[in-house]
Amino acid sequence: MIEHRIGEGLHRPPGAQGPGPIPPALVQGLALRLEQRVGGLLPGEHRAAGAGSGTELSQIRPYRAGDDPRSLDAAASARTGEPHVRERVPERVLTSWIVVDVSPSMAFGTADRLKSDVAHGAARVLARLAGRGGGRVGLILAGAPGMPLSPPRGGRRAVLAVEAALGGGVATDGAGRRDGLAAALDRVGRVAQRPGFVAIVSDFRDVAGLDRVLSRLGHRHALCCVEVHDPREAALPAVGRVTMADPETGRIVTVDTSDADLRARYAAAERHRRGALQQSFRRARAVHLDLSTQGDWLRAMGGGLARR
């Protein structure tokens, strides 16, 4: 398999303006809510099997300047006459995977910003949340050529890697695959052996084979599905005869949007599509966040997490 560098085959779509400001205070607030929703799987609340967190002895070594005096081991110091400190095995960290859809259909937005802007913002927030307390965060760009992967990293390096990966933009038009998202999730399922947290940020339009792979992931990991949509996608405006192209495949369709019946059928089909999506999220026991390109997506994220 040819390894693709992150950023290859991607471009910043015209009209992209970034996700906007992400106040850290708000992220902190989101952390609380997300913890409630995904069952204590975020770092810090993670109960590893076996000994309690941060209690397992790794080694006892002589005290060096700068060591925490609270970690001094009294018995060892007394036996040897030298001050010794206990070093503990660090708490088992949670590995989170963030799957971000960068397929061409994400470069669309008719309200405040593009779907890709919102998706990138949501991915950054999720990366910060997952990276708290030493959590490791990996990233996969679904829908990009070669499905580039950023391996799990901890701390600031994770945040930087995510920023770098998302900075590439979205895939060029016509490069979409119907099963792009499912393929990325399948890869996550193979790479993430231990139970963790998987967040998927997508418009969930390339759903070929998604249902099966989603429920398989849901068995092992805590899932959070962030669906990004644009108000225009829900219903067609009556603007006469329009030639439209599918960003994913380049497929051209010419329809008469003045046809009220067609608009009604389209709206019904869209509702049905999203209804089916929500059902498959529920089957996978995933938290479903619904973000729109209209309005404040960060607030909507919080609202979605608060809703039970």
């Binding site: 259909s105 470069a107 669309f108 779907k115 038009d173 418009d203 339009r205 644009d230 225009r232 996608e233 067609l236 005869r241 329009v242 030639t243 439209m244 192209a245 599918d246 960003p247 994913e248 495949t249 497929r251 051209i252 369709v253 010419t254 329809v255 008469d256 003045s258 046809d259 067609l262 059928r265 389209y266 089909a269 869209e270 599509r273």
Partner: protein, 316 residues
């Protein structure tokens, strides 16, 4: 079919030009198509448009365009219209050989009946004259619209004497109108010669026929009788064979631009007269049929536009 102004057929080039412009416009529309992620859903909802539904309205409009271009070239067709200024001369042999009864009831009777039927057949506006002849053309009725004289002459023919075909043709040729009409065209004229035997007297019929040919008067000849026809009363008593002379008659027809027929029974004679009647009393005329083409183009255009509006929500 011919065209009054064939240059206008160049307008047909508008069709490939239109197709090219259309494909360019479509390519532009595809380049400038609105990006919309809902296209797969929309395509499913809108349903698949079958190929012929997509192509038919455009095809109809292009066909209308083609028909219009043809109409612009003023298409003409040749139709047979009654020739109101036509003149015919019936030249009937009334020599003794016409007494032969090898044609039922006799050659003369059969010729008479067929000629009368012929007179009925041809339109009233065609002038018909008659020359009855034996040794010489003894009755000459000038071509006229009045059929009584012609009728009477035909009825009163009596078989007598020899056969002066050349003189009779000359007489017929002289009474046919020669004047050009207002449009400078020669009035349609023809001679129908019915004879049963060799020319025995008078001028050479072939020479006369040649003159007729140069005057554009075709001579249609009908050779009547069977080779074993006889008449009674030869120079030494007994019977005299009177076979028809189809060779000479055919030559007369050929040099004058007419046609030759040979008949040996009365029904066939009538049939030939009828055919000649239809042929000689009509003329072929170029008629412009632009209106028909324009009408067809209109219908095609309307149907194409309606189908386009109905199926595709726009004119093709």
């Amino acid at each position: 079919m011919s065209f009054g102004s064939p240059v206008a057929l160049l307008a047909l080039l508008a069709i490939p030009a239109l197709l090219f412009a259309r494909s360019a416009a479509r390519a532009r529309a595809r380049r400038n198509a609105v990006r919309f992620p809902g296209v797969p859903v929309l395509a499913e909802v809108a349903g698949h448009e079958t190929a012929w539904r997509r192509v038919l309205p455009l095809g109809l409009v292009l066909a209308a365009l083609a028909v219009m271009a043809v109409a612009l070239a003023r298409p003409q067709t040749t139709v047979a219209v009654p020739d109101e200024r036509a003149s015919l001369m019936l030249v009937l042999d009334a020599s003794r050989s016409m007494e032969a009864i090898d044609v039922d009831p006799s050659r003369l009777e059969a010729a008479r009946a067929a000629a009368l039927a012929f007179l009925d057949e041809i339109p009233d506006r065609v002038r018909v004259g008659v020359v009855g002849y034996s040794d010489r053309p003894y009755t000459v009725v000038r071509p006229s619209l009045d059929r009584t004289a012609t009728d009477g002459t035909i009825r009163s023919l009596e078989p007598l004497g020899g056969t002066a075909t050349g003189d009779a043709l000359q007489a017929a040729l002289e009474v046919l109108p020669r004047r050009l009409d207002a449009a400078g065209r020669r009035p349609a004229t023809a001679i129908v010669l019915l004879s049963d035997g060799q020319a025995t007297d008078g001028a050479d019929p072939v020479a006369v026929a040649r003159r007729a040919g140069s005057a554009r008067v075709p001579i249609y000849t009908i050779a009547l009788g069977t080779p074993d026809g006889v008449v009674e009363g030869g120079p030494f008593g007994g019977v005299l064979p009177v076979p028809p002379d189809p060779q000479t008659l055919a030559e007369i027809a050929a040099v004058s631009g007419g046609a030759a027929y040979e008949v040996d029974d009365a029904d066939r004679l009538k049939e030939i007269y009828q055919r000649l009647g239809a042929q000689l009393s009509t003329k072929r005329e170029e008629r412009e049929i632009t209106a028909g083409f324009a009408g067809a183009a209109l219908v095609l255009l309307l149907v194409g536009a309606l189908l386009g509006a109905r199926w595709q929500g726009r004119l093709p």
